[in-house]
Each structure stands twice: as C-alpha cells, then as structure tokens.
C-alpha cells in the first residue's frame, strides 16, 4: 500500500523549491534593461559608487527583486487560500475571492485612492493599509453573521460571503461612476491587479503575514483532509471541527487580505493552481498545500515577468496573463483526465 511518506513529501517540496529559485534567478535577468549574469559578478566584485554599478544594481536589486519576491508571496498566498477554501467549503468552484475578503480590500484601497491619501503611516503607503483594513472588516462581518449557536455554518458562510462581495462590488461600481477621470484610472488599474514594486518594507510585511499564515494552515493540513469528508464524518474521525473551520477560515482570509491589499485583484491563480496541483500530486493536503504555495509562486513570477516584458515598456495587467495562459492549459488537463469530477 502506497502512502504519503516523509521521503516523498521532502523530495516533492525540494524539487518545487529548486524550481522556484531557478525561476526567480531567471526572471531577475529578464526585462527592458539588459542585465546579464556576469554583470551580477561585477556588481558584487566592484565597489559601489561607479555609475554603471548604480544603474544596474538599482534595477536588479531595488526594482526587479522586490517585485519578484512580492509575486512569490501573492502567488503562494492565493494558491494556498484557494486550496483551503475549496476544502472548507467542500466546493471545487471556491477561490480566494469567494467570501468577499477581496471586495473588502478593494473598497478599502479605493477609498484611499479616492481621498487622495498619499500619506504614509510609519514607512508604509496608505493604499495597502486601507486595503488590508477593508479585508479584515469584511472577514469579521462574514464570520459573525455565519455564526449560528456558536457554530459556523459553512453553507451560510458561503452565501453571506458571496452576497457581501456583491454589495461591496456595487459600492465600488458606484464610487467608480462618480469619481473624476484621473481617479477612475487609478481605481481601474488597482482593480486589474499589479505587482509594481512597493519596496522592501511592504514586501517584508506581506511576507510575514503570508508565511506565518501558510505555516499555520500547513500544520492543520491533515485536518483539512478530514473536513473534505464533511463535518459529521470529520467529527466521527476525532476532529474538533469548529476549531479547524475557524483556523482555516481566518488563515485563508488573512493571507488573501494581505495579498490583495498590495496587488489588487489578480484572478485565476487561486482556482487554477489548486486544481492543477491536485491533478498532478493528488488531494492529500499535507502535500497539496505546500506544493500549491510553491507552484503558485512560480506561476505568478513567470506571469508577471511576461506581463512586464511582452509589450515593454507598456505593461500588460498580470491578471490577463494568468488567465490567458492558465485557462486553456487547465481545460486541456480537464479533458485529458476525464475522471476528475
């Protein structure tokens, strides 16, 4: 009888991690400014201060690298959030945006854009902070409404989340319709999603939320397997179901909120990667969850690199790339593995 072993787990995760590092290195050298690998050697062997050192080092280390790291975090967060919400809601159609957290974040960010808040709080720009706050408020609202007799009803949560998202989307549409043309452009750009560099402090904060969130969820990965069986069976197999649901919901929502508040609404990663990884490595969340995190990172780094290089110097919204490249491939896989659903 075959079963998931430490060995298989470690080998798969290591392979994906190596692939991710290779992708990061490869994509760091892609872009309109021509930077080669041996430039890197010179950057590190020569002392700073020379003009060419400045230009290339700044592009590589201050523009591209933080952007790539942000793409890693956002891609990983969206993929894991998709995996967790699909298990929690027992629904293959679930994605990170289904419970309205994204709409909350979007509304927060848009309010910041509308108010023209260019202030920074600490060293952080206001738009992501407002976005994160909007996401948090939405999580609290959906969570409180879904609680019946001190238990979360997953069905209620799904409906409340979808409706809350729709209400917030209507408010966003209203704001967009009355905002001035200059601000409308900013709003639409934000909504389309972008990983434009926000600097290392922002990357660090997002990484903190995403990495801690993913580790907590990973610790409960086997419990997610049981949740897929339904709450009654999970209870009868010894799971404290309410506690697990709470952790899954809050964990997935927090990493989604963190990702959305810095990158806007990047579609498709959160639904494509979970299904893709399930087809390749199976449904056991102990392996599926970390594999989806790593592969989500790889996928979004590649997509973002295409987005900024294909029509340089014009940038294509990264959501366009994630959907156009991923969609057909996904449909092909579904057709090939007909037994999937």
């Amino acid at each position: 009888m075959k079963a998931l072993s430490w060995k298989k787990w470690l080998v798969t995760i290591l392979l994906l991690a190596i692939l991710l590092i290779a992708t990061i290195i490869f994509c760091s050298f892609q872009g309109s400014a021509d930077i080669k690998l041996n430039d890197l050697l010179e950057i590190f062997s020569n002392s700073p201060g020379q003009t060419w050192w400045n230009a290339k080092a700044v592009i590589l280390l201050k523009v591209r690298l933080p952007r790539i790291l942000l793409a890693c975090m956002v891609g990983g967060a969206l993929a894991v959030s998709g995996v967790v919400l699909q298990a929690l809601l027992r629904n293959p159609l679930a994605d990170p945006y289904i419970l309205g957290v994204s709409s909350g974040s979007a509304l927060g960010a848009i309010i910041a854009i509308l108010l023209g808040l260019n202030i920074t709080i600490g060293s952080l720009p206001s738009i992501p902070l407002f976005g994160f706050a909007g996401g948090l408020l939405t999580i609290l609202f959906v969570y409180q409404i879904s609680k019946i007799h001190r238990k979360i009803s997953v069905q209620t949560m799904l409906l409340v989340g979808v409706v809350t998202g729709a209400i917030l989307a209507a408010i966003i549409m209203f704001i967009t319709s009355i905002a001035g043309p200059h601000k409308v452009q900013g709003i639409i750009f934000w909504l389309m999603g972008s990983l434009t560099s926000q600097g290392y402090p922002m990357v660090a904060i997002v990484s903190f939320y995403v990495i801690v969130g993913i580790l907590v969820l990973l610790y409960h990965a086997r419990s997610l397997n049981l949740l897929v069986l339904g709450e009654e069976s999970a209870t009868q197999l010894g799971l404290e179901v309410e506690r697990t649901k709470k952790i899954a919901f809050i964990g997935a929502s927090l990493i989604t909120g963190a990702a959305v508040s810095v990158s806007g609404l990047i579609g498709f990663v959160g639904i494509l990667i979970p299904h893709l990884m399930r087809m390749i490595i199976g449904s056991d969340h102990r392996l599926l969850l970390p594999a989806a995190a790593l592969f989500g990172s790889i996928y979004l780094v590649l997509a973002d690199t295409l987005a900024r290089t294909l029509m340089a110097p014009t940038e294509i919204p990264v959501g366009v790339i994630t959907a156009i490249c991923g969609g057909p491939f996904f449909i092909y896989l579904l057709r090939k593995k007909k037994t999937f659903f």
Partner: protein, 282 residues
C-alpha cells in the same frame, strides 16, 4: 426495562440514560434509555423521522442532547475528547460525498486519524492496520483507484474499511445498505456478521430493511416518535401488532423457513381482499 447498573459496566459498552434532544421546539428524542452490550449486534428500527439517525449522532457526539447522558465504557461522553471517542467508536455514514479525488487507500488511512498527531505521516503500523482493514472488507484491489470511481457497494465497503482502520470496539452504521441492490445488501450484512464473530466488534445498525434487521441483529430497538416502543429479540419486536402500531401499515409476519427469524411481507392497503391473514392484527 432494566438498566445495567454501573457495577456491571464491564459487559456494557454504551449506556444511555434519559436522552432528550430537539433541533428546534419539538423533541426529536423524548426520553430514551438503553444499553448496548459488548459483542452484540443491535438494530435500531422505526419509521422515517422517528429519530434513528439522531441517536447515532448523539452516540458519536456529533450532537449533544439537551437532557440525559451517554456513557461509553463507563465514562461520560462529555468528559472524553473527540479523538478519544473516535479511538473506540467508528461510524459508517449512510452516504459519503467526495468533492475531490482521493484514492481509496487515502480514504481508508484517514481512519488512522484518531491515533495520529496534527501534522505527521502514517507509520508502518498504520499502513499495516489499514491494509488489514482493506483485506477484511475485500477492498485491497482498489487501493489506488479514486473513491468516486467505485460502485455504491464497493464504496460502502471502503468506508467500512476506514471505520475498521480506527481499530474501534464499537461500530455504528447508518442504513448501510440504503442505496444498494440485494447482492450488495447481503454482502454488507454478511461482512457485518463476520466482523462481529471474528473481531468481537459491537455493532449498532440503523436499519430500514426490517427483514435484514431481523436476520442479522441479536436485539432490536423499535423507535416510535422519539421513544422506545419496544426492545428485545427480533421475535419479540417484529410482530404484526408492533409494526401496525408504529408504522401504521398492515404486514404479514411469518417464520423464515430457512433461519426461523421473523419475516415481514408488506401488504398493499389497496388490495384488502387478499389480506385475510392480517386479521389477527387486533
């Protein structure tokens, strides 16, 4: 009815006292007391909506009754953790829906959950126990197939293997043959009997098929609107009068010529002429 005193709890696995439960204002269970002895097969029968499944949910602490207590091996169920309960009790639900493609092997291994820590992998011992459970239920050959590729009867056997992998002392089954044809029905009940005889497993079966319940169970619990109507051997419980009172249906009960157990024949309410023999229902 006599209740087992606690001094004799060694022979009594499960003991329920004065269970009352309601989802909203109406009591679904209204004062149930019964015991389940070690190594017996107890069948719970009764009309739809009489509270049979609710009993199983309370015994496995999916639901907590508003009044009354359940004792498992002499310990109050509320004092045990969900894990501790699952180490003693395995449950086979009526139907399981799998939204994602798990293999049969993965599903059976989930039965080891009550014995595993939060993040960890199954040991050689866990694999051995799961393999034994699959061998007993004749499901080893589908280990690597996806659970939703199996037929109803095969899937039910895999779910029974999952419950067996828990290494339980008691197994609860909720209408295990509800959607199965007669071949699979016999197969599942023979398997249940085998587990009882060979492994000494105590079994509690919610049964909708009175004939199967009568054939295979040592004792029956006839539930009527949340109360025990009668409890006893199949011969005592399966009578035309009892079934008429509880199900409001005229039936013919005679002796199965092969096994001697009571056998129920349903009679249509339309063809009153042909139901002369049921006149003994008073």
């Amino acid at each position: 009815m006599t209740l087992t005193p606690f001094s004799e709890k060694s022979t009594c696995h499960l003991f329920c006292k004065g269970l009352r439960f309601r989802y909203d204002e109406n009591w679904v269970l209204d004062g149930l007391s019964f015991e389940v002895k070690k190594g017996e097969i107890l069948g719970i029968i009764g009309p739809n909506g009489s509270g049979k499944t609710t009993i199983l949910r309370i015994l496995s602490r999916v639901l907590i009754p508003q009044e009354g207590e359940v004792y498992l091996n002499g310990k109050n169920l509320l004092a045990l953790s969900q894990k501790e309960i699952a180490q003693v009790m395995g449950v086979v639900p009526q139907d399981t829906y799998f939204p994602f493609p798990f293999t049969v092997g993965e599903v059976v291994l989930m039965g080891r959950s009550p014995w595993l820590s939060n993040f960890g992998f199954e040991s050689e011992k866990d694999l051995r126990i799961a393999s034994q459970a699959m061998a007993l239920t004749n499901t080893l050959s589908f280990t690597n197939r996806l659970i939703f590729e199996l037929s109803g009867g095969e899937r039910q056997r895999a779910i029974i293997a999952r419950a067996l992998a828990q290494k339980p002392e008691v197994m609860l089954l909720d209408e295990p043959t509800a959607h199965l044809d007669i071949g699979y029905q016999i197969e599942i009940y023979d398997l249940v009997k085998k587990l009882n005889a060979e492994k000494g497993l105590t079994l509690i079966i919610v049964a909708h098929d009175l004939n199967l319940a009568s054939e295979y169970c040592d004792r029956l619990l006839l539930i009527d609107r949340g109360r025990i109507y009668q409890m006893g051997s199949p011969k005592e419980v399966i009578t035309e009068e009892n079934l008429f009172r509880v199900y409001q249906s005229k039936v013919l009960v005679e002796e199965n010529p092969v096994t001697g157990a009571p056998r129920v024949t349903l009679l249509s309410k339309l063809s009153s002429k042909s139901t002369g023999t049921t006149n003994k229902v008073s």
